[in-house]
Symmetry: C2
Subunit: 342 residues, 2 copies
């Protein structure tokens, strides 16, 4: 088994080292061929390492970084004014050849801006994109772009479909091509924007894509496709509207169960049922967004990730390195563009 | 009190006359100055009128229509090949001066196409739009466009905000300007498409609009604004994704409560709580979408509406006529365009 080295931004996310260091401890225990570069405030990292009974070794090195990207830093600020941030230094490890991938639970916009600047996009890829796993009735579904690519052309949407398909095959280990749906406002061919209609044409003509047609917003959660393709504006709104509804339902449910003492008792009795229900939507169970189209593997953990969710994000990065996702994307994009694969 | 005459498409929706006729019966009982033109298959209408103890009178006339728009008819087909549909004949009543408004629970796309063709848009309005009420944590929030206007310019989004503000003031009877939010992918001014950024500029400069800034997808349900403005593509996806999540949660909740006999019992005990919870999202409690920007009042009831929901849609049409919504929209649009109000 090849050795895989991952740079971890120790400082990102809501919980910083108290989540990242224990998750790294677990990853080193579970993944034998893994080594980690832990990047950030050495004092804070070492303090947490003591608590987690973790010691530096030939599989674990610490790399200092004097700055941190805040959750509300503008990408431009993070990029220009924080050149010694844990996020930047972690990504630098890839470009310097010290690490094969980077995992961070910091600010998404900053992570994309820095990764794009430091690593550059793959040849033939116009815009990198972010792919998220979401719950659906029969297991996870993947959606991209959730990386703020607005005003996408048909060619951009097509590339998203290509990159997402490669990633899903790598993650699931399946030979079957994932089913790809294009998000639209109706299933008839006449519906939608010009970009969406032209992308549908490109996708139905492509050989290496299992394009199943247009899907609508409610289909995201019906497990009718494995990959949902849309521009970053629509994807962001769909994802956040979904979160908003789920939170409102939770709030209303709490209010209903608090209406009287009998309902409160019922609510207490229902706790295991409601807890299991909540688990099925818990973002911790759907962690690990992939930045695709870059010359390197970058995985974004969600900011509120707990230890096991951050561990999953590390595992995702290991899989992407192991399956050589960037190289595969490069090859498929080159093939789709009709260019010889170098 | 002025007399208000409403044309009702008796045949539309999932339940046809079995919902529309009882709802009309109730409307005639509750709204003294209302008269109704009931449009459709006279035989079917009369049969249901007997069951509902409803008789024709000076407040209720029947108007024959030999065709029906199906829920899957393309708008173009409904418009060109079904000139004697109940929907078309009902809208014709407005252009002929026989009715002041039309209510239908038929196919949304067809209703918009026919209404736009027959009634024409108001001067200064480029595109009519559809405004929907949605649940949010502190009562209803309104959103437009949900009428398939894709590729909207800043001027279109601005007009949507104007039309939606007028409608909400009419419906709530409030003098206060409704709070208007523009749907975007972040709250910073640099985020979003050019159209959204320019619309924000127009809205912040407008006098008669209470523009509060950008909102994100999850804010739709937080009651932070009264009106959510977006293009028809984004609106449709956000609405359907929200429905999809709510249905998935319902499905998962049923599965969890069916896992064993004890949970099943608990589920049965919880029935009143869960029923109250469901009510808070029931589309029947948020019925009546307004087609805005037309030279006439057209209200779309959702297809699955029950009697009381369809009654609400009729009430909405009465309010819009009473408050003279099209004339007010015309005046505000003319003022915003800097033109003299005729």
């Amino acid at each position: 088994l090849e050795n895989i080295c991952i740079a971890v931004d120790a400082m990102g996310g809501d919980h910083g080292v108290s989540v990242t260091v224990p998750a790294v401890t677990r990853a080193l225990q579970h993944i034998p061929n893994l080594s980690i570069l832990l990047v950030g405030d050495i004092g804070a990292i070492e303090k947490q390492m003591q608590l987690s009974n973790l010691v530096a070794s030939d599989r674990l090195s610490l790399i200092p970084a004097s700055q941190m990207v805040a959750s509300d830093d503008l990408p431009s600020v993070a990029l220009r004014a924080k050149k010694d941030s844990s996020m930047r230094v972690a990504i630098n490890q890839i470009s310097q050849g010290s690490a094969m991938a980077c995992v961070s639970s910091g600010n998404t916009g900053a992570l994309m801006a820095i990764a794009r600047f430091v690593l550059k996009t793959l040849p033939g890829v116009d815009r990198p994109a972010i792919l998220f796993p979401l719950p659906s009735v029969n297991g996870p579904v993947y959606m991209l772009d959730l990386g703020a690519n607005v005003d996408c052309s048909a060619a951009h949407l097509f590339q998203f479909a290509v990159m997402g398909s490669v990633l899903i095959q790598a993650v699931t280990g399946s030979d079957a091509l994932p089913r790809v749906g294009l998000l639209n406002i109706g299933s008839e061919a006449i519906k939608g924007t010009d970009a969406v209609k032209q992308a549908a044409q490109l996708l139905s003509e492509a050989e290496d894509i299992n394009y199943t047609g247009f899907i609508e917003g409610d289909d995201i959660y019906k497990s009718v496709v494995d990959l949902v393709v849309c521009d970053g504006f629509v994807g962001n709104v769909a994802l956040k509207a979904s979160e908003g509804v789920a939170k409102m339902i939770l709030k209303f449910a709490k209010e209903e169960f608090n209406k009287n003492i009998f309902y409160k008792l019922l609510g207490a009795l229902c706790y295991p049922v409601l807890k299991n229900l909540y688990k099925r939507f818990d973002p911790n169970n759907y962690n690990g967004a992939s930045l695709l189209g870059l010359q390197g593997v970058v995985v974004k953990s969600h900011g509120g990730a707990n230890e096991s969710a951050f561990f999953e994000a590390i595992t995702r990065a290991v899989t992407e390195v192991h399956m050589n996702v960037p190289e595969k994307i490069k090859q498929v994009v080159a093939k789709q563009l009709g260019e010889p694969v170098l």
